[in-house]
């Protein structure tokens, strides 16, 4: 087994364990910590694939800003242990059915696409270089994708205004 494959399996196991722990932990803070583990493991996988900049952004924005916001809100609202209710009894059965259907669909797609990748594996698929990838990425963002990039800044502005309006206490 090559070193890359070993690293992949370690990180993959870490992320799956984190995701399972997100489900089984009772306290929101523990769930948030599990999610952070998943995110850091995914950042490691991005590094493995040579996507350095995405890995760094993943940790800085997801790990350092979004999840901190979650932890902050959990601490602010003093959220306790999750209480178990089953008021909507109807939802359980169709929910599981839908989840199974989705799992089957995704598994079928992945299984079908597996053949596709083996076939294409022979071509000269260029792997994004480790040194130039950040520079190429910035070139693409500010040249080819400049318009959507500017749109996201408007989106963020609207989100900030929305958050302020929502959380503002009128008195």
């Amino acid at each position: 087994m090559s070193a890359q494959l070993l690293v992949f399996f370690i990180l993959a196991a870490l992320s799956v364990i984190g995701a399972l722990s997100l489900i089984f932990q009772k306290h929101p803070i523990h769930s948030a910590l599990s999610l952070i583990v998943v995110m850091v493991a995914l950042a490691g996988l991005y590094l493995l694939m040579g996507a350095e900049f995405v890995a760094a952004v993943q940790i800085i924005v997801y790990g350092g800003a979004i999840m901190v916001l979650f932890v902050f809100v959990i601490m602010l609202l003093n959220a306790g242990l999750e209480e178990h209710t089953s008021i909507s009894k109807m939802a359980g059965f169709p929910g599981i059915l839908l989840a199974l259907a989705l799992t089957g669909f995704v598994a079928a797609t992945v299984a079908r696409s597996a053949g596709l990748f083996v076939q294409v594996a022979g071509d000269n698929g260029k792997i994004p270089g480790t040194l130039s990838s950040t520079r190429e990425l910035s070139n693409m963002i500010f040249r080819n994708f400049a318009y959507p990039f500017e749109l996201t800044s408007i989106l963020i502005l609207i989100a900030i205004l929305g958050a302020i309006v929502l959380a503002h206490r009128e008195n």
Binding site: L22, V38, L69, E83, L166
Partner: protein, 100 residues
């Protein structure tokens, strides 16, 4: 080199776990976190495809997803704070009225 299929399979598993968490959890914040988990799973697939095809479009899409997730988190957590203030509960099943 790790086969792309492995990454896609991992991405599918993580997405499925995100869906499960979304269905089974009762706390609004945790439900919100499971959405983030699903977004992360999708991002992994994007980066894997980007690596497979040798094009950077996939990575750029991931960056956009992360930006949108940040905006979504800001608004979503604002809504959660409002709900918690008005309902005194974070359980989704206690939020069963159309008005706050």
């Amino acid at each position: 080199m790790v086969p792309t299929t492995y990454y896609i399979a991992l991405s599918a598993v993580l997405f499925g776990l995100g869906v499960l968490a979304f269905i089974f959890k009762r706390n609004i914040i945790t439900i919100f976190m499971s959405i983030e988990l699903m977004l992360n799973a999708v991002n992994l697939a994007f980066v894997a495809f980007s690596q497979r095809t040798g094009k950077l479009d996939g990575q750029i899409f991931v960056l956009f997803v992360i930006i949108v997730a940040a905006a979504e988190a800001a608004v979503g957590l604002g809504i959660i704070i409002l709900i918690a203030r008005n309902r005194q509960s974070l359980n989704v099943e206690r939020v069963d009225l159309l008005k706050l």
